[in-house]
């Protein structure tokens, strides 16, 4: 590290300079093997990870987001060596000849090639229109499927307009061919990146347009380049190919995960993987703090408090973990909760995937291991209308002391994670609140979005947010309630905004710091007959 060249920080704005720096780092670490993480504070604002793989050095630049490479996140969708890319080719538009495939790998896969006798993947003539489309469709991802519906041809046609070219424009496209049943998104990224790299190189040095004339030594010819890219992406899901002194093509195929759930303040995150083992001090500070507090019991609000991280940042960090499927979010566990089995409970009884043993081991406490039969019985005896407390009591009456044998919290978590049961939430509904909502039109389309707002704003905002302020002008209903029942209007009630049937008690608990009995107590002050408590 000591030998790092001094580079003025101003240069950081310049991408070219950045590349040069990277190249020098490559030289520095070329002797080492394995994975190295360098955080060059003061020089690089970004963490850099350098791999040495298969004789190539792979450099990852990370900006924005957290570093999750290194050892975590196996690429589930791509199996190394699975050869997802059937072919890769470079096509350009020649004013005299039209669209031409200049290089292809493997040879003869797209257009006939001398000495290759294999059948082509598809008829290029039919699809050439989509490989080099009209100018209006250039500079975007263009994907076509062949008539036999066997292959995606993913390309990103580029059109560079410049008077120096014949017809004032230069059009090319690097295409990747994959089978139809393979998810295309990661490859779209790769194709877009290829287009970007080569566009830049073309603008710099007419790298592509002068191919035919000179093939100088220091430059790698495109054919072998494509070959390497294809092989590396197929085998390692990433590639790092130096093209010339200044340019290196770095690509990685990223698994795209589904959009993670929104984290609510009453959720309880549970670790699925041992993130603690891979976290290092290059990680985001809030993330580090938050991770330390995840214990499967604390709710998000508690985590934020204990970690001394703002609630909304905590939620972002957790959502990030959820995106990588490293945590699961569940509800707060309380003995007053109600759970209801789903149809999946049959899978448990049938002992699919050895679930019973798994569950038994998961919720075991230091006692004798109970027979799986009792686990079945415990799940099936959960039902809406029966709190856990009552459930435990019921089994006690039948001579089975649950608490002696089973960690109930873990037992319930197991059921939730496997989808065997779901939580029955408790909601308060005020007739008056509903009436107001129904009569004030503005509130209609998107109620209940305030739940996502950070607690800070929720606390300061007028309960019921803007929508209700409009309704205050005309409140016949309110007058009605005044007249009949109480001196105080329910609208002034601390919990009024939670009484539209969209806010579970859990939310009240975390946002108002009230336990279930306290909430019920508070709701008792409600005008008689106006409030209902619904379980669902």
């Amino acid at each position: 590290m000591a030998a790092l060249p001094k580079i003025p920080i101003e240069l950081m704005e310049d991408k070219e300079a950045l590349k040069k720096i990277l190249a020098s780092i490559l030289l520095l670490v070329s002797e080492s093997s394995g994975i190295q993480a360098l955080r060059l504070a003061g020089i690089f604002p970004l963490p850099v990870v350098v791999h040495r793989r298969h004789g190539l050095l792979v450099v990852h630049l990370f900006h924005g987001g957290y570093l999750f490479n290194g050892q975590s996140e196996p690429l589930k969708d791509f199996q190394a060596g699975a050869n997802m890319i059937e072919a890769i080719f470079f096509a350009r538009f020649l004013p005299q000849e039209g669209t031409r495939v200049v290089y292809q790998s493997p040879p003869g896969s797209v257009v006939p090639e001398e000495g290759v006798d294999k059948p082509r993947l598809f008829d290029f003539e039919v699809l050439s229109e989509y490989v080099i489309p009209r100018q209006a469709f250039c500079n975007r991802i263009v994907t076509i499927k062949d008539p036999d519906y066997k292959y995606h041809i993913i390309g990103h046609p580029v059109c560079i307009q410049d008077p120096k070219y014949e017809r004032n424009e230069f059009m090319f496209n690097f295409c990747i061919v994959i089978r139809v049943d393979i998810k295309p998104t990661p490859y779209k990224t790769a194709v877009r990146r290829l287009a970007g790299h080569f566009t830049e190189m073309e603008i710099q040095s007419q790298f592509l347009s002068q191919i035919d004339e000179s093939n100088t030594q220091e430059r790698r010819a495109i054919g072998p380049l494509l070959e390497i890219i294809k092989e590396d992406l197929n085998n390692y899901n990433e590639c790092n190919v130096p093209v010339d002194d200044a340019n290196t093509i770095n690509m990685k195929l990223f698994t795209i995960h589904a959009t993670p759930p929104h984290i609510k303040s009453w959720h309880v995150p549970i670790m699925k993987t041992k993130v603690n083992d891979i976290v290092d001090d290059t990680w985001d500070l809030s993330m580090q703090k938050v991770i330390k507090e995840i214990d499967g019991i604390k709710d998000v609000r508690r985590i934020a408090h204990d970690a001394d991280v703002a609630l909304n940042l905590t939620k972002i960090a957790l959502r990030h973990l959820a995106y990588y499927e490293t945590i699961i979010v569940l509800d707060m566990f309380l003995f007053g909760n109600i759970y209801q089995p789903t149809a999946e409970v049959k899978d448990f009884i049938d002992d699919k995937d050895d679930m019973q043993t798994e569950c038994g081991n998961y919720c075991l406490i230091n006692g004798p291991r109970i027979d799986n039969f009792y686990l079945c019985r415990l799940f099936t005896s959960l039902i809406t209308g029966r709190t856990l407390k009552e459930w435990i009591k019921m089994h006690l009456d039948q001579g089975f002391e649950i608490l002696k044998f089973v960690d109930v919290r873990r037992f319930i978590h197991y059921g939730l994670v496997k989808g065997l049961i779901y939580r029955v939430h408790k909601y308060a509904i005020s007739h008056q609140h509903l009436l107001e909502k129904a009569t004030s039109p503005s509130s209609h389309p998107v109620p209940a979005t305030s739940t996502a707002a950070p607690a800070a704003t929720a606390a300061t905002a007028n309960p019921g947010t803007g929508t209700l302020s409009g309704a205050t002008a005309h409140t016949p209903a309110q007058g009605h309630w005044h007249a009949t029942e109480t001196p105080t209007s329910p609208k002034d009630h601390l919990l009024y905004k939670y009484t539209d049937g969209c806010h579970p008690f859990d939310q009240i608990t975390t946002e108002k710091n009230m336990g279930d009995p306290k909430i019920m107590d508070s709701l008792r002050k409600w005008p008689k007959g106006d409030l209902e408590v619904m379980y669902r």
């Binding site: 310049d14 070219e16 990370f62 008829d123 039919v126 229109e129 989509y130 009209r134 100018q135 209006a136 469709f137 500079n139 975007r140 991802i141 263009v142 994907t143 499927k145 008539p147 036999d148 580029v158 059109c159 560079i160 307009q161 998104t185 877009r192 970007g196 566009t199 830049e200 603008i203 795209i256 995960h257 589904a258 959009t259 993670p260 929104h262 972002i316 990030h320 995106y323 089995p341 149809a343 999946e344 409970v345 049959k346 009884i349 049938d350 009792y374 079945c376 799940f379 039902i383 809406t384 029966r386 007739h431 009436l435 209609h444 209940a448 209902e532 408590v533 619904m534 379980y535 669902r536």
Partner: protein, 852 residues
């Protein structure tokens, strides 16, 4: 060439269209009806007419029943709104003059901005990210200019933006195609896009920078139609294939149809009398699709020669049109998964795109319909262009005059809103068809907690239940038929539907109205059929019709003794309006929140909520209302057979005593008989207490048995015993002796065991010898081993009530955790009370779980 066309003909697709829940109309055949003795609600002729298109003479090529447009579909039921992703439909043809962009609808497609706010992974504040990217772009521009590569004005900018986008925006940027692509588009377009503010934004013509006329309808999706028309007219290889083009951010999906090489649009029948050729019988279409049109068959030449003349005659008529292509354009919200995208495209393609293009082909083959209409539309456009008419005016004109344009409008509007499209092509005879992307009418599974973020996307308001109306009595899914033990629940007010049907006034209206009047949600199809002596098939057909048209859903018949709970999937955001509607519908009933709260407090028989017997009717109506809105769902009861230790012990004891008896008898005499029995029981026995003994004894008897059988032939060969044979027989002897000793020990051990004692309540038997035995659950009575069947017999023998005992074996098959106990009475044709009384007697032996 592999023909991957999954649905080879219109006829097939007519039923295939109904997709996962094909409760469509074409399922019953007249032949099936003949068998039914009871009164026919539907005269066969009518049924046939309805099964086909109402006014179309060609039964199969005509798509399924279309109603007149007035009847369209039912009002906005909560369950019926799914985002299909469709943003527009366009028609492109290739004629003598080359490709032509004929028509598109809507005139100004709106690509929902939300669609392109790709939330990538964990980005929470979308705006922040987007802004960040813009900054990146600016930096990129600066950097490039600094490198001296600026190419002046738009040209350089475009290339440059692309670069910077790919380089800097990579991590976050790859998900924001929409924006990026739009930005990368030529500057003119993006400039114009910012101009699109008011409703009249692009209604009028204006002059471009170089004085050229900018015609409002010559740009769609920010793309010039001149370019689109060429890219959307694929070559012949795509003839009747799935054409799927992704021009970021839009997906273009279609089923291009080319003129056949013989110059016709449809394969002609062999015997080519002109008239027959025109009114093609059903099989024709299928034939045509089966045979690859490019395949030069043996008859091809013959046909050609026959057809050459008419072709040259007609040449002027179809203007040299060689292909047409109705392209459906989708903008799919990217939520990160390709599965989602794939599924959307697939749904639209299978249910709409293909059928619409096939119908056009039919019409084109019949009377050159597509070309004539296209010609009309194009000439109107040309004229309007000269007169500089506003686009809105022109579009109204076109849709008024061209039935094809109107059909495109109808399809596009309906499918975009996930409704049923009714298409009318004014050919002679006209083509009427309906197209829809089927919507589910119930959810069998809550979105899992792992994707709990999706929970809100899981179509709140949709009924959750595991009762599948498509399961036949044997538990197989039959897409064409409804289970006869389901009932029909109308999704709207009965009178409203009836009046709609009346105004519709088709031949089917009368039977439908009659059926609706006869069919309460409390009676299964079978019961309705029996009570009114109507043929069951008619009932099912009518019900399927109503379900296809989204006016009803099949549910298990409602019963006051069943239990209903507030659905976990109900959409409480709709509560305010729903409770107003509730008051209107049931002014005297408790308010909706009150009623839901009462139902949710604890699961009870619905009947127990009736204030009095007289309220029954009213309360059942309320229940139907609640289920229709997805507010409540039935809590059904499922169970498994539970074997208590007492029973297990008893069976085990019995088995062991048999074994002891068997082992006491000399093996030689009872060789085959007891051997077999022994074998079976011991091989099935995996009692951990004495596995060794069991296996040893069985193997010894086995070997000695085989020895006996095989020895005589050996001995008869008069060969002297080899030393091996002597050793072997000595070994066998030793084993036999050992086994005998063990048997004896076993018998002694057995004798010391306590005798099983049948108590009245096996579940409460706390005897010491049972303490170590865990109760056992029989997972599936359909697939049981011998031990389970012994258990079941033992339990059956315990049941005291004679009737219950008799029914035990019959009822057992429902105790599999999958069949709801509520349905047993219906399935067995018993009285409900009777069935429940019997089940109650089994209760001690059942593990019960209640869920939906």
């Amino acid at each position: 060439m592999v023909n991957r066309d999954p649905s080879p003909s219109l006829a097939v697709s007519a039923s295939g269209r109904l997709g996962p829940a094909p409760l469509g109309s074409t399922s019953s055949t007249p032949a099936a009806h003949q068998q039914d003795a009871p009164r026919r609600l539907l005269p066969t002729s009518k049924l046939k007419l309805w099964t086909e298109s109402r006014s179309h003479p060609n039964p199969t090529s005509a798509p399924p029943p279309a109603k007149t447009r007035s009847a369209l579909q039912m009002s906005d039921h909560p369950i019926l709104s799914v985002d299909t992703g469709l943003v527009g439909v366009c028609l492109v043809i290739r004629s003598r003059d080359g490709p032509r962009f004929v028509f598109h609808h809507p005139p100004r497609p709106i690509i929902d901005a939300v669609h392109h706010q790709h939330t990538q992974g964990t980005e929470i504040d979308q705006n922040e990210v987007e802004d960040g990217d813009d900054d990146d772009d600016d930096d990129g521009d600066g950097g490039r200019d600094g490198n001296g590569n600026g190419n002046g004005n738009g040209n350089g900018e475009r290339a440059g933006e692309d670069t910077s986008d790919s380089e800097l925006g990579d991590d976050a940027g790859y998900q924001k195609h929409g924006k990026a692509a739009a930005r990368l588009d030529n500057p003119k377009a993006s400039k114009r896009r910012t101009d699109h503010v008011g409703p009249l934004e692009s209604d009028d013509h204006y002059d471009g920078l170089e004085g050229e006329q900018v015609v409002p309808w010559e740009t769609v999706f920010d793309l010039p139609t001149k370019d689109l028309e060429s890219i959307l007219t694929p070559q012949r290889s795509f003839h009747k294939k799935r054409f799927e083009l992704h021009l970021d951010p839009l997906y273009f999906v279609s089923y291009p149809v080319h003129l056949r090489e013989d110059g016709t649009w449809k394969k002609q029948r062999k015997s080519k009398k002109d008239k027959q050729a025109k009114n093609q019988p059903p099989e024709d279409d299928r034939d045509e699709d089966d045979i690859d049109p490019l395949d030069p068959g043996p008859q091809q030449d013959l046909e050609k020669s026959v057809l050459l003349k008419p072709l040259s005659d007609d040449d002027d008529d179809h203007g040299g049109m060689t292909m047409f292509n109705a392209v459906f354009v989708l903008s799919i919200p990217e939520d990160g998964t390709d599965e989602h995208t794939f599924q959307r495209i697939h749904e639209v393609y299978d249910n709409v795109v293909k059928d619409f293009n096939k119908a056009l082909k039919h019409a084109q083959a019949q009377c050159d319909y597509v070309w004539k209409e296209s010609e009309l539309i194009m000439s109107m456009k040309e004229k309007a262009r000269e007169e500089r008419r506003p686009m809105s005016w022109l579009w109204n004109e076109i849709m008024a005059r061209s039935s094809l344009a109107a059909a495109i409008r109808d399809v596009s509007d309906a499918i975009m809103r996930s409704k049923i499209a009714t298409v009318h092509l004014a050919t002679n005879p006209p083509v009427d068809m309906s197209l829809q992307i089927p919507v589910p009418f119930y959810l069998s599974q809550l979105p899992s907690i792992i994707q709990s973020g999706q929970r809100n996307k899981g179509m709140p308001g949709l009924l959750v239940t595991t009762a599948n109306p498509l399961l036949d009595d044997d538990g197989n899914i039959d897409h064409a038929h409804l289970n006869k033990h389901f009932a029909l629940l109308l999704l709207d007010d009965k009178d409203k539907i009836i009046s709609e049907l009346q105004s519709d006034n088709t031949e089917l209206s009368a039977p439908l109205i009659e059926y609706i009047k006869l069919s309460p949600p409390t009676q299964s199809f079978l019961q309705v059929a029996q009570a009114n002596s109507i043929s069951l098939n008619d009932v099912k057909t009518l019900a399927q019709h109503l379900i296809y048209w989204r006016r009803a859903i099949p549910i298990p018949p409602l019963h006051a003794r069943d239990t209903f709970i507030v659905s976990p999937n109900c959409d409480s955001r709709k509560l305010p309006n729903a409770s107003l509607a509730w008051i209107k519908a049931f002014p005297l009933a408790p308010q909706l929140p009150t009623f839901l709260a009462t139902l949710s407090a604890a699961p009870r028989h619905y009947k127990s909520f009736f204030p009095s017997k007289d309220h029954r009717g009213q309360y059942m109506d309320m229940l139907a209302w609640l289920i229709r809105g997805g507010w409540v769902t039935q809590l059904r009861t499922f169970c498994w057979i539970m074997v208590w230790p007492e029973i297990i012990y008893e069976v085990e004891y019995e088995r062991m005593s048999n074994q002891v008896k068997a082992s006491k008898e000399p093996p030689k005499t009872s060789n085959s008989g007891s051997n077999g029995g022994n074998n079976n029981s011991s091989s099935n026995n995996n009692n951990s207490r004495r596995p060794y003994i069991a296996s040893a004894s069985s193997s010894s008897t086995d070997e000695s048995g085989s020895e006996k059988d095989s020895k005589p032939p050996l001995a008869s060969s008069n060969l002297p015993l080899t030393s091996e044979q002597i050793a072997e027989s000595a070994r066998l002897e030793r084993i036999a002796l050992k086994a005998e000793a063990e048997n004896l020990a076993f018998a002694q051990a057995f004798a010391s065991r306590p005798k099983p004692e049948a108590t009245a309540h096996p579940s409460l038997n706390n005897a010491a010898h049972l303490a170590n035995i865990a109760p056992h659950i029989i997972k599936d009575p359909h697939r049981i081993d011998e031990k389970d069947s012994l258990y079941m017999d033992a339990i059956g023998a315990r049941i005291e009530d004679e009737k219950a005992r008799k029914n035990w074996a019959r009822f057992c098959r429902y105790f599999n955790g999958e069949d709801a106990l509520e349905s047993i009475a219906l399935l067995e044709g018993m009285k409900r009370k009777e069935a429940w009384a019997i089940i109650a007697l089994y209760q001690e032996h059942l593990l019960i779980s209640r869920h939906w």
